[in-house]
C-alpha cells in the first residue's frame, strides 16, 4: 500500500473515536503491538533527541525499501511511533521523503499531546525523514 493510502486508513480509524479516552486506549494498544527493535539496536546512537521519554529507532534497507523498528520506555510514545511506523515503514526512501505529514493533524493527535510530546513527535518524523535521506543517497550511489 502507498503511504497516502495508509494515512487515509489511519484517519478513518481515528474518526471512529468519540473522545480522547478511546484514542488514548487505541494508542496504548498500538504501543503494545509495536514490532520491537532488536536489543542490539537500542543504543545511544539510535536515541531520538528531543523526546522526553527514551525513543530508539532503527532503519534497515530491504529490497530498496526502508524498514523501521522502534521502541520507547513510555507506552503512549510507543503508540505514536507505531502510527508513524505504520505510515512510513516498508516504503521507498524517496516516497518517505515526498510524503506529507498532514494526517497527524487530521487524526487530532497533536492537540491531544502535551507540548513536550508534540515536540517529540516532530523530532520523530524528522528522524524518519533523515534516515530516508541517508538511504536515498546510498541507493543513488
Amino acid at each position: 500500500m502507498e503511504i497516502k493510502e495508509i494515512q487515509e486508513e489511519i484517519i478513518d480509524e481515528f474518526s471512529m473515536f468519540d473522545d480522547w479516552m478511546q484514542r488514548y486506549e487505541y494508542m496504548i494498544e498500538l504501543g503494545k503491538s509495536l514490532p520491537l527493535i532488536k536489543e542490539e539496536y537500542k543504543t545511544e546512537d539510535n536515541i531520538i533527541k528531543g523526546c522526553q521519554s527514551k525513543v530508539w529507532v532503527h532503519a534497515e534497507l530491504e529490497d530498496n525499501k526502508l524498514v523501521f523498528t522502534a521502541d520507547s520506555d513510555a507506552i503512549i510514545t510507543k503508540g505514536i511511533i507505531a502510527i508513524l511506523i505504520r505510515a512510513f515503514s516498508n516504503q521507498k526512501p524517496q516516497d518517505i521523503l515526498d510524503a506529507d505529514t498532514q494526517f497527524i493533524d487530521e487524526i487530532g493527535l497533536k492537540e491531544h499531546l502535551s507540548p513536550t510530546r508534540a515536540n517529540g513527535l516532530v523530532s520523530m518524523i524528522k528522524q524518519l525523514k533523515l534516515y530516508a535521506v541517508a538511504y536515498q543517497t546510498q541507493i543513488e550511489d
Binding site: 507506552i75 503512549i76 510514545t77
Partner: protein, 404 residues
C-alpha cells in the same frame, strides 16, 4: 481550622475546567496559584501608579518607590532580616544563586572546596560547576540515603578548612525532604565556610528566621508563595554582601560614574542594576501579606493532613512506590507505579483535569540515584482539599487500568 472553601474563593483559577473536568491543581511545587488579593495589587500598580522608581521627583515615581520599598520591608520582616538592605530583589532563586556564585568567583582560590547536597535542583548545581571551572575550586557532594535524607555523617567528614561554601536546599523539590539546615549551618561555620540555603520550596510551607538560623544567604521565589513569576529575593548578611562584587552593571547600582571610574551604590542597590520588576516586588509583598493573613502554622498543619492522607491512600495502590520517605517532609509526593512510565501517567491524569508534574523535576542526579527515568509528583498547597486527593487516587487507578 482553615476554612478551605472560603480560601478557594480567593483563587479565580481554581474555578476553571481542564479538558472538560474541574481543575485539580497539584503542581504547587512548580508554581503556586495567585489569589485575587495579589492580582488586585498587580492591577492597582498598572492602573494607578506605574512609574520608574528611585529616580523621578514626580508623584507617581514617589508612590511607586514607596510601595516597592514597603514591600522590601515586608520581606525583611517576614524573614526577620536585621536590615532591610540585606534583602536584595532578584528575578527569583536561580538569579539569586547566580549572583552569589558570581560574587564568590572573586573570593575563591584553586584548591578551595564547595559542598552541595545530592538532592539539588539543576539551578543549584550548574552555577557552582561554572564557579569551579572559573576558580579551580572543587565541587563535592553530600550524599543522601534511600529515604532521601542527607548523610550528615558524611557531611561532617567532608567539611574541612578548605571548605569555603556550602549550598543546600531547605526542602527538596523532588522529594519534599526538609533538610536539617540548622545543623548544616552550624557545622559549616565551625570550619569558617559560608552557607547559602535555597528556600524556594520551603517558603510556601514555613517561615525561615534568617537571624535565628544564622544563615549567610537565603533565597526564594515569589511565584511559589502565591506571588507573581519573575521576582524573588536574596537575603545576605551585610558583611557578606559588602564582600561580594556587583553582579551586573547598569543604572541604579552606581554612586558616581565617570569614564575613568565608577563607584558602586550602597546596599541593596549595588546588586539591583537596571529598572527592577517593580510591580513584581510590590505583588511579592502582597503575597506575603496574604499568606501571613492565613497563617503559616495553620498552613503547615493542614498541608500535613493532606500529605498523610494522600500518602496513605496512594500506598494502597498495588505496585506504587513513593520516592522520598524522609521523617521530616512537606506536602510533596513523588511516585511511580511499576511498569508505568511517569509521562504516560501524567498524560492521562492531565486528560482527567489533574495537574501533576512528571519527569526528573530538574533533579536528574536524584533520578540517577534511584535508577528511574523520573517520577510523577503531586504537590499540595493549603487550598487543595481531601476531595481532590480522592480525585487524584481515582485518576491514578484509571490510568493504571488503561496502561497496564
Amino acid at each position: 481550622m482553615l476554612d478551605i472553601n472560603k480560601i478557594r474563593e480567593d483563587f479565580p483559577i481554581l474555578k476553571r475546567e481542564v479538558n472538560g473536568k474541574p481543575l485539580v491543581y497539584l503542581d504547587n511545587a512548580a508554581t503556586s496559584q495567585t489569589p485575587q488579593q495579589v492580582i488586585d495589587a498587580i492591577v492597582d500598580y498598572y492602573q494607578n501608579y506605574n512609574a520608574n522608581i528611585h529616580r523621578g521627583v514626580h508623584t507617581l515615581s514617589q508612590e511607586a518607590t514607596d510601595k516597592y520599598e514597603q514591600a522590601r520591608l515586608k520581606i525583611q520582616k517576614h524573614f526577620n532580616a536585621a536590615q532591610s538592605y540585606e534583602i536584595i530583589y532578584t528575578s527569583g532563586t536561580t538569579h539569586s544563586i547566580n549572583l552569589v556564585a558570581n560574587g564568590f568567583s572573586a573570593l575563591l582560590n584553586k584548591g578551595d572546596e564547595i559542598l552541595v547536597s545530592a538532592m539539588e535542583h539543576h539551578s543549584n548545581i550548574v552555577p557552582w560547576q561554572m564557579l569551579c571551572e572559573r576558580t579551580g575550586a572543587t565541587l563535592k557532594v553530600i550524599p543522601m540515603n534511600q529515604e532521601g535524607e542527607l548523610r550528615m555523617d558524611v557531611y561532617e567528614d567532608l567539611l574541612c578548612d578548605k571548605t569555603k561554601l556550602v549550598f543546600c536546599n531547605h526542602i527538596s523539590n523532588a522529594l519534599g525532604t526538609i533538610n536539617p539546615i540548622e545543623e548544616i549551618i552550624n557545622k559549616a561555620h565551625k570550619v569558617g565556610a559560608a552557607v547559602l540555603i535555597d528556600g524556594a520550596q520551603a517558603a510556601p510551607h514555613l517561615v525561615a528566621d534568617v537571624q535565628a538560623l544564622d544563615v549567610d544567604f537565603y533565597t526564594c521565589s515569589a511565584h511559589k508563595i502565591c506571588g507573581p513569576t519573575g521576582v524573588g529575593m536574596l537575603y545576605g548578611k551585610e558583611e557578606w554582601l559588602n564582600k561580594l562584587p556587583p553582579y551586573q552593571g547598569g543604572g541604579e547600582m552606581i554612586a558616581e560614574v565617570t569614564f575613568e571610574k565608577t563607584t558602586y551604590a550602597d546596599l541593596p542597590h549595588k546588586f539591583e542594576a537596571g529598572t527592577p520588576n517593580i510591580c513584581g516586588g510590590i505583588a511579592f509583598g502582597a503575597a506575603l501579606d496574604y499568606m501571613n493573613g492565613i497563617g503559616f502554622e495553620e498552613i503547615a498543619k493542614y498541608e500535613h493532613e493532606l500529605l498523610e492522607y494522600a500518602t496513605q491512600e496512594l500506598l494502597k495502590i498495588d505496585g506504587l512506590k513513593i520516592y522520598g520517605t524522609a521523617k521530616h517532609k512537606t506536602s510533596v509526593i513523588s511516585f511511580n507505579i511499576e511498569g508505568i512510565h511517569p509521562y504516560d501517567m501524567g498524560s492521562i491524569l492531565d486528560k482527567l483535569g489533574i495537574a501533576v508534574r512528571t519527569g526528573h523535576h530538574c533533579a536528574q542526579p536524584i533520578m540517577d540515584f534511584y535508577k528511574i527515568p523520573g517520577t510523577v509528583r503531586a504537590s499540595f498547597a493549603f487550598y487543595n482539599t481531601i476531595e481532590e486527593v480522592d480525585i487524584l487516587i481515582a485518576g491514578v487507578l484509571k490510568a493504571k487500568s488503561m496502561l497496564l
